[in-house]
Symmetry: D4
Subunit: 223 residues, 8 copies
Amino acid sequence: GFARIDHHRALRNGFPEVVYCPNKTVPQIIAIMERVAAHASKVLATRATPEVAAEVRAALPSAVYHEQARMLVLPGAIEVPPPATVGTVLVVSAGTADLPVAEEAAVTVSEMGSPVERLYDVGVAGLHRLLANQRQLYAANVVIVVAGMEGALASVVGGLVARPVIAVPTSVGYGAGFGGLSALLTMLNSCASGVGVVNIDNGFGAGFLAHLINLRGLERQGV
Amino acid sequence: GFARIDHHRALRNGFPEVVYCPNKTVPQIIAIMERVAAHASKVLATRATPEVAAEVRAALPSAVYHEQARMLVLPGAIEVPPPATVGTVLVVSAGTADLPVAEEAAVTVSEMGSPVERLYDVGVAGLHRLLANQRQLYAANVVIVVAGMEGALASVVGGLVARPVIAVPTSVGYGAGFGGLSALLTMLNSCASGVGVVNIDNGFGAGFLAHLINLRGLERQGV
Amino acid sequence: GFARIDHHRALRNGFPEVVYCPNKTVPQIIAIMERVAAHASKVLATRATPEVAAEVRAALPSAVYHEQARMLVLPGAIEVPPPATVGTVLVVSAGTADLPVAEEAAVTVSEMGSPVERLYDVGVAGLHRLLANQRQLYAANVVIVVAGMEGALASVVGGLVARPVIAVPTSVGYGAGFGGLSALLTMLNSCASGVGVVNIDNGFGAGFLAHLINLRGLERQGV
Amino acid sequence: GFARIDHHRALRNGFPEVVYCPNKTVPQIIAIMERVAAHASKVLATRATPEVAAEVRAALPSAVYHEQARMLVLPGAIEVPPPATVGTVLVVSAGTADLPVAEEAAVTVSEMGSPVERLYDVGVAGLHRLLANQRQLYAANVVIVVAGMEGALASVVGGLVARPVIAVPTSVGYGAGFGGLSALLTMLNSCASGVGVVNIDNGFGAGFLAHLINLRGLERQGV
Amino acid sequence: GFARIDHHRALRNGFPEVVYCPNKTVPQIIAIMERVAAHASKVLATRATPEVAAEVRAALPSAVYHEQARMLVLPGAIEVPPPATVGTVLVVSAGTADLPVAEEAAVTVSEMGSPVERLYDVGVAGLHRLLANQRQLYAANVVIVVAGMEGALASVVGGLVARPVIAVPTSVGYGAGFGGLSALLTMLNSCASGVGVVNIDNGFGAGFLAHLINLRGLERQGV
Amino acid sequence: GFARIDHHRALRNGFPEVVYCPNKTVPQIIAIMERVAAHASKVLATRATPEVAAEVRAALPSAVYHEQARMLVLPGAIEVPPPATVGTVLVVSAGTADLPVAEEAAVTVSEMGSPVERLYDVGVAGLHRLLANQRQLYAANVVIVVAGMEGALASVVGGLVARPVIAVPTSVGYGAGFGGLSALLTMLNSCASGVGVVNIDNGFGAGFLAHLINLRGLERQGV
Amino acid sequence: GFARIDHHRALRNGFPEVVYCPNKTVPQIIAIMERVAAHASKVLATRATPEVAAEVRAALPSAVYHEQARMLVLPGAIEVPPPATVGTVLVVSAGTADLPVAEEAAVTVSEMGSPVERLYDVGVAGLHRLLANQRQLYAANVVIVVAGMEGALASVVGGLVARPVIAVPTSVGYGAGFGGLSALLTMLNSCASGVGVVNIDNGFGAGFLAHLINLRGLERQGV
Amino acid sequence: GFARIDHHRALRNGFPEVVYCPNKTVPQIIAIMERVAAHASKVLATRATPEVAAEVRAALPSAVYHEQARMLVLPGAIEVPPPATVGTVLVVSAGTADLPVAEEAAVTVSEMGSPVERLYDVGVAGLHRLLANQRQLYAANVVIVVAGMEGALASVVGGLVARPVIAVPTSVGYGAGFGGLSALLTMLNSCASGVGVVNIDNGFGAGFLAHLINLRGLERQGV
Ligand SMILES: Nc1ncnc2c1ncn2[C@@H]1O[C@H](COP(=O)(O)O)[C@@H](O)[C@H]1O
Ligand SMILES: Nc1ncnc2c1ncn2[C@@H]1O[C@H](COP(=O)(O)O)[C@@H](O)[C@H]1O
Ligand SMILES: Nc1ncnc2c1ncn2[C@@H]1O[C@H](COP(=O)(O)O)[C@@H](O)[C@H]1O
Ligand SMILES: Nc1ncnc2c1ncn2[C@@H]1O[C@H](COP(=O)(O)O)[C@@H](O)[C@H]1O
Ligand SMILES: [Mg+2]
Ligand SMILES: [Mg+2]
Ligand SMILES: [Mg+2]
Ligand SMILES: [Mg+2]
Ligand SMILES: [Mg+2]
Ligand SMILES: [Mg+2]
Ligand SMILES: [Mg+2]
Ligand SMILES: [Mg+2]
């Protein structure tokens, strides 16, 4: 077969293999989702266009499509009780155009089992919008910051909170934005400490890491 | 004055301002360290060469110099009980040449108050060295991976553990390593999920973030 | 004419000129394939889309199309006994999306006359998949590693085997993958020795070089 | 002669040719300064190291050296009344290490004839430092923002004030800062409007432009 | 909601939030324009394709479309007297292909309330075209230079006038133009002083900054 | 300890760990060489400056220094009969300045046990020098091509021979050579087939790979 | 009007303004061609797609379309006797895919008035094809070399002839070819002397420069 | 021997091999110069520092050192009458810091046998300096333009003259000049036609090419 499913993964890192749809044919996507689902509580597929989603849902009607997040979620054969997390993951975004990436992060966090909150369109061009929501910021256990163009929001949030910040540069912008490179470099060079960076537009990766961080407290409590 | 000390910082994000020594004169470094120390339990200074360290310690004899980590630690005026962390931060490094960055991370973790362990010189060219130490890997609460050249170690570790991984690319290498760029891109594009990346050679930033993550569990326990 | 066929090539380097289809019109492709075929045992054409392949096969019905590899093979006028190779070339790939490049390599190896084996979808995010197939890895005479995103598989394989490894970065990925640049740099900076690199997505080049290496043994045996 | 002095310049753009010291021999610097001074009210020389400055001042004792700004100012033969500007140019900088560039900007502004104020070490890692000085920010007629690392300060200031902002990226930082590239891209992609950018470390250019802007009001008043 | 309108902005920096159309759905654009219009004298939207413009105008018939500038202007609910500017902003462009960016700058200047003049197609390949229009050049209070390919026009204009020059690199060109990078670097490295640079193709940003500069004189006059 | 010696390596890939000297202290180099030597037939150390070599040889007098190659060779405790290779590895270089890299390759080949020949200073600016030595070229079993500046020699040699070609770009050149990048890209894009590329200046890696290729024939013969 | 025709150009540099079609509307192209034609002996337009060409020829039936070169030639109102050149410009190309750029160069040379010859598909992968045509090479007065991928042909030709060589990198290739960057760097770093380089794919520019060079002899002869 | 002298070269391309000093030892430089000199009328060596020059002249007292150009000229054993060129090569430079490269070009032109003129320090920041010397510009047969920073001078000169222009970007500048990259891109994208570009700082290459062009007229006249 074309794919060697990594059934160990749920054991090894707490969550089964996630399907990245681009560069795969729809039959490949369906086959992998089905095979993973047989051994897991649920399967996620990312970057699914509406067309891909429609075809997958025709074959797998129990799959749910999150359109803004461009994600498919298929229930699996194995019952796994959700982790008893207590903290919240907050997803902060800079502009309206960053929404798809922010939603990819938020849906990932939520499907993995952590409570998620959203604080959108609070870019630094109008700083008062962020400052007016500082309470929400300080209440979070982990913060994901999604921003394109120059990505300055990550440094500002990182300077305000004492919690881990996961920064996601987006490819929103043009010209010397170079497809997200500018935001990426900004976040890597952040003068605020406590900021970890993931790939450009990688909302899924940020959500995954944020959930792992959010779990830290529980495991030690024997939950 | 040339510097506007950020005395809020310890309140805001749990640790006072840290001094980055390059591009500062020794008198500036000493003055900032003294001023921060008056309002904090300790002050860290990073990237201190042996020469700078000697001059600082002549003026501030209570400062301790960690040579491999290139860090100075000055005790401060305020008594702060160390956080009651329970988990361990593991620092994994690929080769002998990555030692200064790995030590910068390890000393930061330790000075901030988290227990730290080290697993050094386990690069993927001899994979069995890492596999032989899997127990140590699985026991950690957070893992920092420090690697130069192609930086593949981060992906391999990320694929093995179910804990947050902080990846630090180093500038070790030559030619198409482009001063750490190759390792940086590797880590950003990691096919393993749960990996957050910091700037090239930024051991301090990785240690800081790892400690914040390690703290998650405690705070929720009311410690 | 628009093309100056290099009929010497089969003499000079053991295999006739191979046609790279992009930027050529279909009539040009057909004409070149016909002219090479008149002086050779077979002609390969690479990067042929299904549409191009259909048009070529309408004109040259004896041409065979390998769809996943995107390659056309046209039998030629000259009978050449296949080389009596004894070793095997193993093509290892990281993910499902790397399949077209892996198949381009595999079909090239096979059409040139070396036995080929495949070990697909064994990326380092699930290392056990590779480790479970070490026997196949050690049995090969030459190994081709095809990987996109961060391309770490090449270093891991290079660290395990004592045979020449040809690494092919692919353009699979997004964001800071920069169209294959990340995987390319990874492979060039590999901390494992014995790894030679070809251009991004160049499955054909890897297959060609692997076959030349595989031939080394035979020629010395007077075959 | 090696140099063709542009004596028109003071007429054409209000200020005589300014000497950029690197890549020039000290005798060349002295000769150019003398020749410009004969036709101008003063001559500036930038990027003068202490060694160069000492040699120049030995030959031209009336020259004044601004050490932090690395600039020399030589009085000239022509009396020119200073422009009767009324507004203030404010130079804002992110960190202690940006001081030389910030001072180059401030001294340029002042020597050209505009009142200058300084607000230093107010980087976004400790945002309250900037917010506590908003009055000074709003009082300025033109603002120059000097920042290295990720350069986010320019966006934050640009979002607060309704005045022209001149952003100067500095080469302060390391790793993925790429010698100021990160800060430069940040500033070019600023989501705040009204920000113009000059070359990395170009404090002089920022000061020059800020003064030209500050002059706008006066000329129209017939001053 | 998906958007957090920055109603403060007109107070803070003299002009309400401007809508950047790409990456937004048409319903989002319409909703934001309507909401901003309720609290402002007018709303601008940039980078609107003819198709987007038609849909917006179907919903908001009072919106005007500037086709070459690709901008929409919607009258708002608040009456604001235009600023009593006296100086002129001159938009200079190098070639016919730079027209859309030049018009984006010119329409922005004009809609914000400054008088605008145009001097188009005067690239340095035929310098006499610029020299023949020096009077227009010297009469302007602020000059915007729009140029692609190598962008040399900015340096030439910057060398001629004693007024602030805002340089806009465009993505016009091919090959080693690298989508505007060549023109951008040219403008940043300009040997003429008094040049501030905005992002590639950012006509809007240049117009905004030029208007802010043009306002300098007035405010001080108490207008 | 700072180093975790990979004693498996000689078993796994036919040759013990090789020491890369930069970024290591001399005591570290000596300690690693000694520890490897205890379990191997010989130890190589690369990029040893004359100063480092002198210090190492003072401590380990049996070590031999190849000055042009910048390599140290220390005999080990284990007797291993040299491999009975029959073919020759030819090292071809473009110019005099490429010598250190070419020698690093040649000494590696020879120390690993393959016969080596040299054909130096035959760059394409004087093609007749290469053409006059075609016999030597065709006689080789594997060819290493070492070239800086534009690196065209690899393509020319690759077009002439039917054997594996290992191309080593060097950092020789200036300006748009960008430290070897130009030669590297040339070699990766070679229009000749059968060319594998290693990192810039990586003579060692090329020699290692060439030897592995040269061994192919023997192993199959049961030697 | 949108265009300021440079009617001086024919006087200043011997040939009227040439129209670059991309980013212009067809009506703009037609209008500029007509206006230039009224004052010139002929007008060239480059990069005209077949669709653009058809529309232009519908309006201007005397225009001739060179399809491979993608150029339009419109006869003008002014009779200018062709220059009495005596030497030949030779256009050499590496592969079939470089044909459009090579033809753009050849048609430009010819339309400007120099005799042109073509030597196509002689890339260095089959060097004997070039060597077999050395006579044609040595007979030329100026040589244009057009090559994509690694562009090594320019160095080889430059090493053979004692005449000016104009090198044109093309965007033919993929992966690490980076749209012509590899060939461009190769040509700039050529180890052969006497090579001048133009922009990627700039066949027109190469033809123009080659003709200017070819004219040198004549003018001095008083022709 | 380490070097394979290309004695053919004077026959093949009209001038013997030229020695590039960096990366060579002084004994190597001396040996190559002597060996070339035995078969040539003169030998040039470029990029010779004053220290290298002193050592060479101690061994070869007849060698002449041009300090600003950093070139050595050694008379050779063969008498060759200078070519009877009639036209002049004009070297134009932008600033004082470009002098070493401009002089490398000028000395090369002159030593090869063409008359050379200089027009230095006429950068576009003060355009009148160039315009005041148009007569000298129009009188030249070939023009070399040497400029760093943004390199706009090449476009301006290219737009004025109808003669071949050879553009030499220099590494003069800082920040976003990126070691000459900005000037290089400017020159490659020149909107003026008739401009050929050589490597950054390659004054020698420009001089060599200019002389070859200047020779065109003569050869055809049978001189
Ligand atoms: N949007 C995404 N971004 C990054 N990685 C992803 C994404 N979606 C899935 N993945 C990861 O990509 C891998 C899928 O690889 P494949 O075998 O090609 O399907 C899995 O390891 C996933 O965890
Ligand atoms: N090695 C380091 N790498 C990255 N950031 C650092 C490092 N050391 C200190 N910092 C941060 O840099 C800032 C110091 O800025 P400054 O005001 O220039 O001293 C503080 O915010 C520190 O948290
Ligand atoms: N063409 C443009 N280029 C750059 N910035 C723009 C442009 N049009 C609007 N903007 C700015 O981009 C921001 C819009 O962000 P968003 O919330 O995504 O609509 C506003 O702050 C505008 O001032
Ligand atoms: N294919 C081409 N490549 C480069 N420059 C060109 C090309 N075709 C025309 N040009 C030049 O581009 C300029 C046209 O500018 P524009 O005013 O935009 O038409 C003229 O100076 C032409 O000499
Ligand atoms: Mg918004
Ligand atoms: Mg080691
Ligand atoms: Mg998979
Ligand atoms: Mg500070
Ligand atoms: Mg035009
Ligand atoms: Mg040589
Ligand atoms: Mg061909
Ligand atoms: Mg000057």
